[in-house]
Symmetry: D2
Subunit: 321 residues, 4 copies
Amino acid sequence: MTDVRTETKAKARLVAELAPRLSNWDRWRPDDGLGLLNLVDERKRLEARDAIRGGLAISLGFELREGVPQPPGSGRINPQHLMTELPGDAPPDWDGPVFADDQLTMAVHAATHWDALSHCFHGGRMFGGIDAAEVTTKGAAHNDIVPAARRLVTRGVLADVAAHRGVEVLPPGHGIGAEELREVLDAQGVEVRPGDALLVRTGLLGATVRSGAWDEFTEHGNFFPNTPGIAADALPLLHELGVCAIACDNWAVEQLTGGAPLFPVHELALVYMGMLLGENFELDALAEACATTRRWEFFFAGQPLPIRGGVGGPVNPMAVL
Amino acid sequence: MTDVRTETKAKARLVAELAPRLSNWDRWRPDDGLGLLNLVDERKRLEARDAIRGGLAISLGFELREGVPQPPGSGRINPQHLMTELPGDAPPDWDGPVFADDQLTMAVHAATHWDALSHCFHGGRMFGGIDAAEVTTKGAAHNDIVPAARRLVTRGVLADVAAHRGVEVLPPGHGIGAEELREVLDAQGVEVRPGDALLVRTGLLGATVRSGAWDEFTEHGNFFPNTPGIAADALPLLHELGVCAIACDNWAVEQLTGGAPLFPVHELALVYMGMLLGENFELDALAEACATTRRWEFFFAGQPLPIRGGVGGPVNPMAVL
Amino acid sequence: MTDVRTETKAKARLVAELAPRLSNWDRWRPDDGLGLLNLVDERKRLEARDAIRGGLAISLGFELREGVPQPPGSGRINPQHLMTELPGDAPPDWDGPVFADDQLTMAVHAATHWDALSHCFHGGRMFGGIDAAEVTTKGAAHNDIVPAARRLVTRGVLADVAAHRGVEVLPPGHGIGAEELREVLDAQGVEVRPGDALLVRTGLLGATVRSGAWDEFTEHGNFFPNTPGIAADALPLLHELGVCAIACDNWAVEQLTGGAPLFPVHELALVYMGMLLGENFELDALAEACATTRRWEFFFAGQPLPIRGGVGGPVNPMAVL
Amino acid sequence: MTDVRTETKAKARLVAELAPRLSNWDRWRPDDGLGLLNLVDERKRLEARDAIRGGLAISLGFELREGVPQPPGSGRINPQHLMTELPGDAPPDWDGPVFADDQLTMAVHAATHWDALSHCFHGGRMFGGIDAAEVTTKGAAHNDIVPAARRLVTRGVLADVAAHRGVEVLPPGHGIGAEELREVLDAQGVEVRPGDALLVRTGLLGATVRSGAWDEFTEHGNFFPNTPGIAADALPLLHELGVCAIACDNWAVEQLTGGAPLFPVHELALVYMGMLLGENFELDALAEACATTRRWEFFFAGQPLPIRGGVGGPVNPMAVL
């Protein structure tokens, strides 16, 4: 209990210290809802275009199906796919057209998705200093996912941390800091530039799919996961590089250490930097293709569904190499 | 009543006549679920890349929100967005992290989506001759939307029929046939090549948004809509051109004439050709950009959500010019 | 606009005046969540038993089906019934058991339901003076529907106002006040006693079912309904009589006059009196049976589903005469 | 594997042998959808009335909440309760009425419910010989739950098998046969009469609630539960007694032995006898009250929600002693 309090206080100090340095609240129009996506413009997309060499397209979206990836009690339901019309509905003598139709229900933050800038709050505020009370049962009146849905096509870079360390998956709770991130990017020989989307591979999602051990991967009951991810001290580097969005093959982008639920990366990235977080991205096939071509950059079509008021958005991101 | 029977028989004859000419059942592996997406390969995506000139990205996805686009009684529910966590949930003395979370329910074929090859049946079969009984409450065991989710990035071409005719929206029930389609493409000076996605603009969705008259746009109750769209006689041209997918700014891609619900384009395109149909695409902004640049080709990232067993898939398609 | 403000102020005065007279905040344990259901005890149910004479049972629940009773834009969805398993799923050679299974989604306050004591707030409080902030996305931490689910079997009395006035349905916006209510009860020769559930018939639901004019019956868009119901000045009489719950064959129990949405009956009954409100009860068949037997009392099994945290509860109430 | 085939064949023989003896297909109008509820009439409800002595009401409905009672992978989702309106939505200067509203989604056969006569099929038929194909994505065109919703108020009898054997819960896989059932009823000194609803207590639900071991109680993944319940050889006794509906405090009414999923009781009771099955009934409090009063009969208000086309119905059954 003392530990939780100590950790919570340490986290609060860290956020208090970094927030002013990393804040983009006054950098653009406060209510355009774009945050760092302001760095993605037409010129940037020409850069993205030039990253296409062979034409290989790799989809990074986790298949939507029941049973994964949330275990029960997580408070987030898995995708549920129900049929509303079937060919078997037609009577024997029917000579009209025959269709099947379906319906999808899902927690927006299940499976592969972006957190919108209205997903996290700090000091009663969200990105741009907007009052948290702007998010009600009617959705987010500001900072919803729609601006990202209209804008998020840019150059993408993969930092394959697991491959760099020669492991299938990074250790539980491992934090990827600035130093390690820079080391991986240098070893890969890839440059990150303002407006890029950065994908960081921990190996976790693939390993979980192979083992089927979803319970250890995702939040449930009183258990809190212990997963590798981004450490808060990587954020100043991302700030400096101008990364517009970061996504990982894990549950929360940031490292989770199995103790108190602290989420400093969420608070700093979403609330102060205005940087989208992408979760449950499938990065194994992409990593393999990058390793083969020795190129870790690509065209990145990461536009989520345009949910009005959405504090996140499901997405099937596509990398084209 | 006689009219319906007469129309139904005429439609049946049309489908019976065209099906053998247009069928792709034996062209590829019958169970890869790709149909004409087999024409989309890496070389094709380099063509798509070369269509990017200025870097402008235009999202074609209709905003997901309640109340549109289905009226009640359509049997398809509109997107419903509910909040499962709010910043206001936190008690006054809470010093932990604060989040908002949400949930989405929608008819897969509401808003902007692709019909999968398992959406329509003819003679008890779907594309590749696969038994319609393969689609059950568990979803489509074959021909689901997943292959499209993994593949659908290609070159796109817009045929702006409404602009060509100088109208805001084509007349109710107007059928766009081979001749008119070729005329528009010629006038625009754009070539359609094998593996392209073809977007055809009727002006309907934009006009409906502006008028708010959703009841006239979409199916409901005993009313059957009377909307402009693709006529069956355009299909041989699409077959010849090698179009891999066709999408419109209307409810059903094909023309609906307010009488019997016939759907020959669905039967021929989905069941025999293996060609995806995209519905409720927002094409007005794209049309404007194409008119400005005098170029009607673009990079097209149209990958839907990968719903296992899905007989369709929601999508936020992105055109990059 | 002035009218709305004037009406709103008049309503506020009315509530301010009546609230102290009608309040039951200090009458029982403040957090038992029962309110006036405290009056329903074992002795009361013996009274209910003695009201059974012929054994006729009449169900008062509106059939759950799509399309009714909310029109689109109401913010409440109608019951949606989907099949999750069908006999047609079984393959031809299956010799195991064959089932059908289904799933239900509904706004809790659609169709026939009770409003829980946590459905309405006044001055930031709900019944018993409990803070409105106790109701979050996790549901109502106090005053949910569960206590009613465990208790609500009592003697019921029908006041058939429409029949008394010899009309199919009371006029739009008609308010049933204390005087009229007493007159109807007297004419019927039925006594209302402490702990009774009082059902009041306006004729509206039946008339709406027959006409199909749901749009005029229920809230939607900017339109606000104009429906007969209980007037606030009936509440002192109900207080005096000790009615534990009141239900009507209309949308909101209380009269709605098509102007400002005021809801004084909700505020007084739910927040101050702790009296459940039952809406969309089907009372026509019951009215007919009562008229035939010339007795307007019955055993009333009105227990809703026990939704933990529910601010209301669907119910299929049963009257046994 | 041989075992499964052997068991399946033995079950098939059992059903084939008992079906003709127990069938009620020709006993009443084949399409009234009532089955054995035809035995419940007004006279029967006077019998029910006379079973009320002290006025104690005991609700038998399992609380609707997330996380129980289905584990993931069961194909049935647990109740999900979401808030669609909250008092916190109101802006600070709001002087209008303030409400909370909610929405419920649940598998109809989760929690406490009745199986409708359209829930199970045998030889392609449901009760009355009606074609299984009458159940489609639109629901059950015959034998839905609505007739039970309008009729199911009758005399109830509890057979407390667990108490009779002096155990907290019957052993896994234990089958309650005719002999044991008769023994329990005799020991309790209670008579079962035509039209009665029979509740049979195994102790399972209460024990599961106390232990929290839902995974052992309910179906999930490849695991099949091993739970006490009614054995097929009890059905001729129920037939003879004229029981109109049977309900237990377990998952499937019938015994499940952890091997092949056979369900002879479902096939015989639902398909041939037309007898409703009630599952997940909470019987512990009722058992205690019956033991105290030494009377095991009561008034039983077991009317489910009237879902049109429903192959089952959620219910909060009420016993009044």
